[in-house]
Symmetry: C2
Subunit: 487 residues, 2 copies
């Protein structure tokens, strides 16, 4: 019996007896896995889902549960927003870079309306109302939010803004509700599930993936797939060794987003047979400042007392910049008119009669914060922010008394997850380092690099996990590569 | 015959006839390859070096040729500098991060003095004089320079500063001279060389690397290694596809440092058999502002008119920050007293009577540059820079007329090369994704992740290439893993 961490592939000839044989094996029962299992089952394949936890859900069940969709969904329309696939495409090409995956983004947009219908067909309910207060899950049951800074600089200059964050109808636990429906849909279509089953490695036969080997209740199991194996095993935010190798800034994240199953095993077992990875440095970092939105009237500064971003952008972009570029040393400067304790209880750590006093109490370089506030106020008096382009509605001079909310790592939560992973085609085929599909191997979700190369919007992970999970499941269920490509 | 880009491994059983068999094959005849070939030959192995170009040299022959060594080398001592291995270690642990490879850095320091002797034994001449003017190759024959910002913030607070950039004695073409000696030493020790031979893939037998396959004058050649294959095939700065997948900022580099052989093939052929990579996002970016050092009296600003770094640090750190964090939009603000045209002919693009005019002509946000200069001058009047900690000798108020040198991508050269690559042990063993050595496979130089995880100092690449090249060659020459480990 090998070490559980030994992802080295197993040769089929070494397997004395298969414990089970099906058409398609799906590794992981989260957002991507449930979609893959459903579509493979609907394509007529005998499907077995292998989940290391006791039940379905994965990271998606713990998440806000936003699904990024646009181009005029019924919810957008009901809420009075016009949107086009072209605007959605231009926004994503700008927001998901640098060097976004054009093929994935184009397909993601083209399938967006159909994917909404698919969610509804899976039983996911949506409340056709809009919540303006947040770029995160609303406290009510509203089904639509701005979730990627579409209405702020620079994206409002690239594409007509529209909210595209769709949420299942429930108060909180939105991701959990979504996953309840998707897992039930997969089971309803006939996918079998083997819980408490952790896949450790792939089984290969002459370069083709023909099965997996893993552990179930302490016993080694070898499972054969006649048609294909789909890796939907999550990302690697819970693997510090991988984080250090690929994206050291994320090691310092304090509220890692995912389950302990996000240990990168799915990525590594494919790398072990020559699969290609990409965007491994990329990570989304949530830094939950709003709600309330009134805090956006303040200014974000770094350890040099400088501003570094427009405060009205998506909080995930703020978090990325704060952790990757500012080393997690940031603060929100607020005055009395803009201040409220935020939803997580983040309150002002310092409050002073003057900016000079505040600067001194915070230990910032003398004059640095004063210069920043003076420049900001000078423009704000005219309702402008020519330096960072915060929207006019959020711009007004900061009037002492003035305070600061400590947003450094520790006082504030930094909630990251990984965006890099296996290089997979739109159809879910995993590519080797030459750029050719590895026969029999498919993947989707955070085991793969998705639509986001680095930049992110809330809802894109569950969005691309479920959509490309569907395609990967259908590809695996198809009997031949030719059949797959014409699907 | 396969496509040249097909790095998929070849099974030994597929080889009908080997074109040659030796003990050790070394892939690439640059800094790491020549060191590996020499040490393997000295260990008694029959060595064949495979070089895709017509002759030896690789990227090192085109480089400044600095070798980073310390702890009290004869050159440091002759120039009157005290240094210790402990100071060198503390500097490197601070400068090579985040998350530097402690094992490699510890070994690099421990072997530093011996490695200097090794270079001398290879015939490399050193002029025991110090050049204060530059952190790059001097115009004279001086053998010692500061090459990593050791005498500037923050490293001067971490370790006692000492110059550790060692250069072979010649005017310019230092890297070329160094490589002439190293290649001659390898040949002198008995290593054979096959030029115009491009290795495309590894040959494996039951999980062990037993040879390589490639092209020589248009013909496929299959070459067997009884003991080991050493990959010293350079980095991937000349492979835009890999740059986009792993470190998108470097795509925009205008003067890529290396040869067209730096196409990542060595990395990919090992990945194809399950080798692990790390630090793939990391790249050094030279932005040659100095000499002359008088320009350091100026201030570097970004597109927001903000300073972002202490101007007296190593120019490679400036370049990294400019390209990775400031998107290549930076300028050097100078006054008359500090201005000279730099050695590459970079001259002031704008010169104005006042800072306000300059700001306006440059198209910076109104008031932004003025606020920055005012804050800088306020502290500079007391010889201080509490914001970015430039050393007191470089700090004095900027007095109009004032100008700016355009250091954006295009007007200024950004010269990057990659630092990420295969994960290899100190002894040169290439690790698979499980963390185990791949039998028969060794690597060094920019095909591997070296002492620099991200931060860099000039001379660390040739330094770690030659030192860990030596170890990798000796490991490959040893007959057994046990013999290797006790070398």
């Amino acid at each position: 019996m090998r070490e559980p961490d030994d992802v080295t592939p197993c040769e089929a000839a070494e397997i004395k007896a298969w414990d089970d044989t099906v058409d398609v094996l799906v590794v992981g029962f989260g957002a991507a896995g449930s979609a893959a299992a459903l579509s493979a089952a609907e394509a007529g394949a005998q499907v077995l889902v292998l989940e290391r936890a006791a039940g379905p859900g994965g990271a998606a069940a713990l998440a806000e549960g936003i699904v990024y969709l646009g181009g005029g969904t019924p919810i957008q329309t009901a809420c009075g927003f016009e949107d086009s696939l072209d605007d959605m495409y231009r926004y994503l090409m700008a927001a998901c870079g640098p060097d976004p995956d054009e093929a994935k983004i184009a397909r993601y947009c083209a399938e967006s309306l159909g994917h909404f219908d698919w969610l509804v067909a899976c039983g996911v309910p949506f409340d056709p109302t809009f919540c303006a207060e947040t770029s995160m899950a609303p406290t009510g049951t509203e089904g639509l939010v701005y979730s990627g800074g579409e209405d702020a600089y620079p994206f409002n200059e690239v594409a007509r803004p529209a909210p595209r964050g769709h949420l299942a109808k429930t108060k909180r636990a939105t991701g959990w509700l979504l996953m309840q429906h998707l897992a039930a849909a997969a089971a309803g279509a006939g996918a079998a599930v083997s819980a408490d089953t952790r896949v450790d490695r792939l089984v290969v036969d002459d370069g083709r993936v023909v099965g997996v080997q893993g552990q179930r209740f302490g016993e080694t199991v070898s499972l054969r797939a006649r048609r294909g194996v789909v890796l939907t095993a999550g990302g690697f935010i819970f693997n510090d060794d991988m984080l250090r190798k690929h994206c050291p800034p994320l090691v310092r994240g304090t509220f890692k987003v995912g389950t302990e199953g996000d240990d990168g095993r799915g990525i590594r077992m494919a790398q072990a047979i020559g699969a290609s990875v990409r965007n491994m440095y990329a990570g989304e970092v949530s830094l939950p400042i709003t709600p309330p939105r009134t805090l956006i009237h303040g200014i974000l500064i770094n350890a040099k007392g400088q501003r570094f971003i427009n405060e009205d952008t998506y909080m995930g972009r703020v978090g990325q910049s704060a952790l990757y570029e500012q080393d997690g040393e940031v603060y929100l400067i607020v005055d009395e008119a803009s201040y409220e304790v935020n939803w997580m209880g983040l309150a002002a750590t310092w409050v002073c009669a003057t900016t000079a006093e505040l600067e001194s109490e915070m230990g910032l370089p003398t004059g640095s914060l004063q210069a920043t506030v003076d420049l900001y106020n000078r423009h704000a008096a005219r309702g402008e922010d020519p330096v960072f382009h915060k929207g006019p509605s959020w711009v007004r001079p900061l009037v002492p008394p003035i305070g600061a909310i400590d947003l450094r790592i520790g006082p504030a939560p930094y909630a990251p997850f990984t965006l890099g992973g296996l290089e997979a085609t739109v159809e879910g085929e995993v590519l080797n380092v030459v750029g050719d599909p590895i026969p029999g191997l498919f993947a989707a979700g955070r085991t793969t690099a998705g639509v986001c190369s680095f930049g992110y919007a809330s809802g894109l992970s569950i969005g691309d996990s479920t959509m490309f999970g569907r395609f990967a499941g259908a590809s695996a269920a198809a009997l031949t590569p030719a059949a797959r490509r014409t699907r």
